[in-house]
């Protein structure tokens, strides 16, 4: 993530606090989540275009509007 130097106007700690509340999961739940994500990524792998480099190079559009 790009970290830019910004002055933070949020009350200190608020963001972190909330993160902490959301983050903890039992290790069992964590395992299950990881399995779900792995399954999903496997599924996405199966439809992803074969050659990323070639795909990116050839995806060129004319400007529009």
């Amino acid at each position: 993530m790009p970290e830019r130097e910004q002055k933070k106007k949020q009350p200190p700690g608020k963001r972190e606090e909330e993160v902490v509340e959301e983050a903890p999961a039992t290790s069992e739940r964590g395992e299950k989540l990881k399995e779900d994500i792995d399954d999903l990524l496997d599924e996405i792998d199966s439809v992803l275009e074969d050659n990323a480099e070639e795909f990116v190079r050839s995806y060129v559009q004319k400007g529009g509007e």
Partner: protein, 497 residues
């Protein structure tokens, strides 16, 4: 009193013709549209409109018959939408809708129309060739194509007042309207990932351009309605969204802000300094800490300025109701509650908006690959993920994969989306246009947003002006349609009154 926010969304899709020796995007776009339109194509009437004599109704204007375009690929669909080739892209403009949920529905129906078009085109192409479309806004190489919103606005509102309030609105609403992009373009500062596809392409605050030196507020003045009463605010600064929640919020919140501007409800100066720099700074910071300098508030984050808009909107809802911007108060409340939930999540734990906002959904997907495969941000696979997220083919769209995995929150019923491919909205003149096309396609010689030209079997052709976007609704004309069986009878009834 704010006028009803009749809205529409026009989307230029990215298009690729695979397997062809010399791929031509104009030909590919034409094939998609021709493939889709199986019934006789109805030409779009390009003739400049002059207002009808009775600008608010359907009185016959009796003017010269228009030039009928037959060679350009331009179709009007029975759902009231326009589907055509624009600048080497297939473009779908939703019919006029009367609330943000309806606009979301017809925007999603457009994706299904493009998907079906790809199937149709496949049958017309040689073996080994395929047309693929993407609902995104950039090729990652400095070329951008738009997703434009249109809102009906009271002509009496001074344009300068719109500009003053809309610039801070557009700069900060990016935090929920963005579709996410790997890297930067068009000379913008480098970054790994940014919130929107479009921010890099905006170079002016106000102007008429759409293809270069793009302005944050576009001044195109082409109301497609009674020009004495209305403007059509043409918004070019947004991203095309896949997530229904994002589209719904983008349209609903903007409609409310416009209604507040019309009613003079924004009571402080929310204008921001250096908007062009600000729009990029906000987009380039997915941590959402970037600040803007607001005249009445000092330096604050996008979220803080959004809270100020929401506070005003809640007050406006209490005092005025939200029927004008959102069609009814129930949908208005849906917009306000969503808006509040999204802002709360953005300032606490943005990643919980996975499946609601495109930029968050895409970022989570990309990060999952970074984590699993140990990829660098410059790896082409991440750019591939970012583009293929917007693939409109149901079997290849990564967004659709996430939908099927239950990771995306839907607001729409899929049966309603399929129905909206063919049936017009009940609530606007699109109902009149779409119904005429469904019943008498062979007699509709040309159609435009604000008129319809019918061939009733004798000269001259009859032009029916539709200068009032809220008229021609099902409520208004269903009885009339039930009582006539030919276009001639329809015209007779319309001119008799």
């Amino acid at each position: 009193m704010a006028v009803p926010k009749i809205v529409g969304i026009e989307t230029e899709y990215g298009v690729a013709l695979r397997g062809a020796p010399e791929p031509n995007p104009v030909v590919a776009s034409s094939l998609l549209i021709n493939g889709y339109v199986e019934q006789r194509r109805v030409g779009w009437d390009f003739e400049d409109e002059s207002p009808g004599r009775d600008a608010r109704g359907f009185a016959r204007d009796g003017s010269q018959p228009p030039e009928v375009e037959t060679h350009l690929v331009n179709a009007v669909l029975t759902n009231g939408a326009r589907y055509y080739v624009d600048h080497a892209h297939p473009e779908y403009s939703t019919p006029e809708c009367s609330d943000p949920l309806e606009a979301t529905l017809f925007d999603k129906a457009g994706e299904r129309i493009l998907a079906r078009s790809m199937d149709a085109a496949r049958r017309l192409l040689p073996q080994g060739q395929e047309i693929v479309v993407y609902k995104n806004n950039s090729d990652g190489k400095g070329n951008s194509y738009g997703c434009h919103e249109n809102y009906l606005v009271d002509r009496n509102v001074p344009f300068a007042m719109l500009v003053r309030n809309l610039i801070p609105w557009f700069v900060t609403r990016q935090i929920f309207t963005g579709s996410g992009k790997i890297g930067s373009e068009n000379g913008a500062d480098p970054c790994e990932y940014q919130i929107t596809q479009r921010a890099d392409f905006f170079e002016e605050e106000v102007g008429l351009e759409t293809t270069l030196k793009r302005p944050i507020v576009n001044t195109r003045d082409e109301p497609h309605a009674d020009p004495q009463k209305y403007r059509r605010l043409h918004v070019i600064v947004g991203d095309a969204n896949m997530c229904e929640v994002a589209t719904f919020l983008k349209i609903g919140t903007t409609a409310i802000v416009l209604a507040m501007i019309e009613d003079g409800f924004i009571d402080k100066d929310l204008s921001i300094s250096t908007p062009v720099a600000a729009i990029r700074a906000v987009s380039h910071d997915p941590t959402l800490r970037a600040t803007v300098d607001v005249a009445a508030l000092g330096r604050c984050t996008s979220i803080e300025l959004q809270w100020e808009f929401l506070r005003l909107a809640r007050k406006y809802a209490d005092e005025t109701g939200l029927e004008a911007p959102c069609g009814n108060d129930e949908i208005g409340k849906m917009v306000l509650d969503r808006w509040e939930n999204v802002l709360t999540a953005l300032e606490t734990y943005p990643m919980t908006l996975d499946g609601q906002l495109d930029w968050v959904t895409k970022l989570n997907l990309v990060k999952a690959y970074v984590d699993r495969d140990g990829l660098k941000w410059s790896d082409p696979k991440l750019e591939l993920l970012s583009v293929q997220y917007h693939d409109v083919r149901p079997g290849r769209s990564l967004y659709e994969k996430l939908v099927r995995a239950g990771k995306v929150e839907r607001l729409l019923d899929e049966d309603a989306v399929i129905a909206a491919m063919a049936d017009p909205p009940d609530s606007t003149r699109a109902y009149f246009r779409g119904t005429c096309l469904a019943r008498w396609a062979d007699s509709v010689v040309a159609a435009n947003w604000d008129s319809l030209v019918l061939d009733v079997g004798t000269d001259p052709l009859r032009r029916i002006p539709m200068m009032e976007p809220t008229r021609g609704s099902k409520e208004h004309v269903a009885k009339l349609f039930a009582e006539v069986s030919t276009p001639r009878q329809l015209v007779e009834r319309l001119t008799a009154s």
